[in-house]
């Protein structure tokens, strides 16, 4: 099936089998490998993207369902001039990543949180990030990074 959607502000068109997940279509068919695939059943959060302004697990959507929607992936975070998004910068500065496997999902989940809430408490950050699993950092750096980005953003 032919599917069309806007991806980070650009129209993309792709021919997929109905069983192709959106995560696989982004990675394998369109070459946007920033969206990572871990568990493939919604639990790890690595594949989290934004669909029509809402966070979604790209492994739990079939690409055909995204027809006509507007998608943002981690590749869409950076400014056009190459400057990192406040969250990307704070993840670097605060040791919010080690291997980086979980990072795209962490960034997208955190971005959604910061869209909804100004300066969330550390407890709120932990709550909201609890659907994203990291095997490396132990989460302190991640919570620090989100907290710092929220201050930069509202400061």
């Amino acid at each position: 099936m032919q599917v069309k959607f806007s991806l980070n502000g650009r129209m993309e068109s792709v021919d997929v089998e109905p069983r192709r997940t959106l995560a696989d279509a982004l990675r394998e068919d369109l070459g946007y490998t920033g969206t990572h695939v871990g568990c493939e059943h919604g639990v790890c959060g690595a594949c989290t993207i934004m669909v029509d302004g809402q966070p979604a697990r790209a492994c739990l959507m079939f690409a055909v369902q995204a027809d006509g929607s507007s998608i943002t992936t981690v590749e869409g975070l950076q400014n056009d001039d190459g400057k990192l998004h406040a969250l990307q910068q704070s993840f670097c500065d605060r040791h919010g990543l080690q291997c980086g496997f979980c990072t795209p999902g962490m960034l997208m989940t955190a971005m959604d949180l910061l869209h909804r809430e100004n300066e969330p408490s550390r407890e709120r950050i932990r709550e909201e990030m609890s659907g994203n699993i990291c095997r490396c950092t132990g989460y302190m750096g991640i919570v620090d990074a989100v907290e710092e980005a929220s201050r930069t953003q509202s400061g």
């Binding site: 109905p18 069983r19 959060g45 809402q54 979604a56 739990l60 989940t109 609890s130 659907g131």
Partner: protein, 279 residues
């Protein structure tokens, strides 16, 4: 961990969705939020021939109120339940479902139809004696929540029937208490206590295959004012009446002990003076 091949249809109306299901004669599956079905397909626990995507059917995403009943469209997302202000009980229950990225897509109809014994909305529906509206080849019918849930992941819906909405009464007072291992996990024990039209409801999820209405605790609560002794008595009655088993998440004894404790907490919330007048 990839789904087996299937055909995909995106019907424009309920009638057309039902028609596709009927044509597939048992080999079709509705996809709503996909938050339970997509994992099931990925693990190949189901291999439907046709996936019927109901997401673009108009008119199924609204919440409307008439008097003290909320009509919730099948496609109302958990996120929307959390945001509405008519029924704080539903908002609280939705807050306990998974994470933001799950709540943005998962639907009320999907959660009720999936009938996971550990899911929040089926417990709320059973507690409130919700009415499920379904449409099938023979037309529309209503099903009482207690008649819908038949077993773990089993309902009395026919193969070609689709839920279009759920009527949830708004309780005059309520309590919600859940025990889960981590934030956003399914509940080990979920208890809803509510007073609807002057009678008490106590419903426990997570222990039996379907949400369990603790009738004896309900009559204890209906029997008079809730002094401290009665709260404990009602909580004990709920736990004692449930048959449960041990699995890798918890032993039967632990589950029963927690059912009692979380029933006690839910009753205390519901009967707290601060709740009076707060719906």
């Amino acid at each position: 961990m990839k789904a087996a091949p299937f055909d995909y249809v995106r019907p424009p109306s309920v009638a057309s969705a039902v028609h596709h299901l009927e044509e597939a004669s048992g080999d079709g599956k509705i996809i709503a939020g996909g938050q339970s079905l997509a994992p099931v397909l990925a693990m190949r626990l189901a291999r439907p021939q046709v996936l019927v995507d109901i997401n673009r059917i108009p008119g199924l995403s609204t919440i409307s109120r008439s008097d003290d009943v909320l009509r919730i469209g099948a496609l109302v997302r958990h996120h929307d339940l959390l945001e509405q202000h008519h029924s704080p009980l539903l908002a609280e229950a939705a807050r306990w479902i998974g994470h933001a990225a799950i709540r943005s897509r998962g639907t009320t109809g999907g959660s009720i139809a999936h009938a996971d014994p550990s899911a929040e909305l089926p417990v709320v529906a059973a507690a409130l004696d919700a009415t499920i509206h379904a449409v099938g080849p023979d037309g529309r019918r209503t099903i009482a929540a207690v008649d819908l849930f038949e077993g773990a992941l089993e309902t009395s819906l026919e193969e070609s029937e689709m839920i279009v909405g759920v009527d949830m009464p708004i309780p005059t007072t309520w309590g919600f208490a859940e025990l889960s291992r981590r934030h956003g996990d399914f509940g080990l024990v979920t208890v809803v206590v509510a007073e609807v039209e002057g009678s008490w409801r106590v419903c426990v999820g997570g222990l039996a295959a379907v949400p369990f209405r603790a009738r004896e605790s309900e009559s204890i609560l209906d029997g008079g004012s809730v002094a401290d002794g009665r709260v404990r008595e009602a909580a004990q009655a709920a736990a004692a009446a449930i048959t449960t088993s041990s699995d890798l998440h918890a032993s039967a004894d632990y589950r029963r002990a927690m059912a009692e404790e979380f029933t006690r907490r839910a009753i205390e919330q519901a009967t707290a003076p601060s709740r009076a007048g707060v719906h």
